[in-house]
Subunit: 262 residues, 4 copies
């Protein structure tokens, strides 16, 4: 499937404000970016680099006044998300070195505090994919998905206390539960076709049976349409924008995902 | 100065237990390891790799029964820790790409929640080294350093609530305060000469004036004698050991640091 | 200055042919890609990755029949290439670790065989930038630049024997001469505004005085207009395309560089 | 099997001479270093880093006068080298991204010039392991292995012309032949138990059937006893020492490998 994704962000800036943005989807094993465009106004110097995860990040200092960013990309992705019930748990000693850090707790995923809860949720499940599917299902049934209910990231413990959250919150709790079972899990931010209401999206991936699989408790069924912009341990790694100095908030954020011919 | 450092860890293992250890100091810009030795008993297969930070990590599965690790190294380090009052704050836009992640909150350093407190502690300080020195001093005078008071890592918020902690706890709070001021900060674990009581140690580094500087609120004066084993965002990245499955605790941990002739 | 660069490659393929391409300029410290497009026909699966140098590479298997690739990008670059006469030679012990491999001989730059010649060419020059400028000047005056005179890479020794070559050949000899003086040097491929005749281009960079500087013996004066696609030790690392199996040659290659409004 | 390996190098230095050394075996998937020691005399500053391949390298400036290096290590390795006749050729499109550069020509392995010869040598062999075994066998029967016959690296073309060489030379020709068949191949330097005469050693690895396999045309049979110090594309990447400025040669080089109890 081919998607045209886009994001428009507008800020009113009062003092020169350093930004680190993550708004350019990258071609990789999962998706091919045929065309992309990244415009800023005014046209200040902008520098791109790949972060520790390989995500493309953009650095700039926004000048006082109206500042806007407009990105768009045409991306080819799989029609369907792969599901693989029964894919086995990979024992720690057989995980690749590069995945071990995805077992550790992180800023918004205090997996060191969720072991009992994860065992309860996944009781009677086969170790591996089925445990993660049980976690996803539990999130879907238990934590109310309320888009727009939160402005800044909160942690898995806080999400669990509130029993509600945005997509990012559900992903954080899902990741914490997976890791507490020694299943590597990571956060993904990006776009989702037909997301309602349309916005930037966040979901999570778990590593079982030798591959990363997509999980998303905000959707009722697994389906295709995911375009990734960033991968990380949690939202601290993959903010669409980090901004330094006095806080500024977007006065406008328009996200669009439409299906196109390839 | 030349130091001979060593650590002996003993466990009683009930079921085969995967371990990831970080017990081998590495030669680098700050220290030279002339000799090192790393023995395990029984002699099961062991695999070493460099983690995302370049730290040497060792993987193994400990078999049931008594399991012990014995490491030692002869290391050449600087006689003194460099202090540099007045070293300036580096503006975000001038930080190297590779340091930007040290501005972000992490598992045990919720820097996104400490901005007001950090501003209070560093009021009237020149931005940069002097701010960090003020934070270190505030920690020294405010948070009681009580070795052995905690078995597992707690976060900066929790440390601040308890107003006491082990070396790791003071470092976590120091890191969170630095990052909340947009100063890159990281955790270091390793050995310290003349530490009392002798144990593995943790301290933190802040990046100001174009270099990483060492800070340690558990000591009254800056002095030399630090041998690093691991660098990371916080204790989640640099555990001396991570162990999976049913919890096992060392039945014995002997740390030694002695001065030797080079 | 803003440039719109583009490349169109067409092949007649007889058997399924694996390709590794390097045709997507990347944003970085030296250039900003505001827009880019990368089309292949027919639309077979294509996978992008960053190679050891961070260059974007694309993998695909071209099916039998007509196969074409069409890329274009809008890129912002500096108006001028920086020249810095007098910039000093950096002694080996002060070079960053990551640059040391650019002192070593490589496939097409047998720097281990050019020391006497380099000393002659640079006699009486200050160590550093002035040596490289003397090498560039010597190449310009000695080795005939004859576009289209060679289909495949030859090495610095071979270029020196022939006393003529394409842009790639002059760069190889320049790099070999620099490295033989212990000056780090690397190859760049990409586009050059106003190149005549228009084609993909190759030049070299040398590291003196703490920075990489651009040198190009095919041009009479330093000027701006360079858009980089790939960096490497020599042409072996930065082929616009590598193809495996029975040799295929482009039946058509159209390169364009035009100036646009930003 | 456990081996104690060691190398002693002595130089007479006339002017301060920068060195880059590669003399510390590293623990990894193939070997475990239980103990190692690295002494220099006089005790000048020395800095270690991991090169682009992960090899441990040591930088120093040797002062005028007698300069010596003494290294030793106790290493656990497999008793046998794995042989796997029939292991299949991996098609380009299925090779991991990180291995693709091992298909390219390099300084001493001009694989772009050996395709016909490699086809002749491997005629009638199954693509993959059997081709490499045929190359190894051809080298063993054709190129005279004459230890000590060469002081500096020569390239595969030169080795083929001379029809004789040291271990490094045979490895270079083997690598060039493999790569010309699109089989990834790399150089290894290190120690070999029972090598006669004892010295540092070089051999090569080829990637077939999803793994790297060891080949060594200097030995009549595959056997264990290899301790790796460095991996690279060819000898340019893995010199035991690189030295800059006026050439100095070791006045003494003593290599030892003995079997020990673990």
């Amino acid at each position: 499937m081919w998607l045209r994704v886009g994001c428009e962000l507008t800020f009113d800036i009062e003092v020169p404000t350093p930004f680190i943005l993550m708004l350019r989807p990258r071609s990789g094993a999962q998706q091919w970016v045929e065309r992309d465009e990244y415009k800023i106004s005014p046209n200040v110097p902008i520098f791109e680099y790949a972060d520790d995860y390989g995500n493309l990040s953009q650095r700039l200092v926004a000048p006082p006044g109206r500042f806007s960013i407009h990105t768009t990309a045409d991306v080819k992705i799989d029609d369907y998300v792969t599901v693989n019930p029964g894919a086995p748990f990979i024992e720690i000693q057989h995980l690749p070195n590069t995945l071990l850090s995805y077992l550790l707790p992180s800023r918004y995923c205090e997996s060191d505090r969720f072991n009992d809860m994860a065992n309860n949720i996944t009781a009677n499940q086969l170790p591996g994919y089925d445990q993660v599917a049980a976690i996803e299902n539990w999130l879907r049934n238990t934590i109310s998905f309320i888009p727009g209910s939160s402005d800044f990231p909160i942690s898995a413990i806080e999400v669990n206390n509130k029993q509600m959250g945005v997509c990012r919150d559900l992903a954080h709790l899902g990741i914490a539960l997976c890791r507490s079972l020694s299943i590597p899990a990571r956060m993904v931010v990006g776009y989702l076709y037909n997301l309602n209401p349309m916005d930037m999206h966040a979901w999570f991936e778990a590593y079982v049976g030798g591959s990363w699989y997509t999980f998303d408790a905000t959707q009722t069924d697994p389906k295709g349409g995911y375009v990734a912009i960033g991968y990380g341990h949690d939202a601290a790694d993959v903010a669409v924008f980090n901004q330094f100095g006095p806080a500024v908030h977007p006065i406008n954020q328009i996200v669009s995902v439409e299906r196109i011919e390839g």
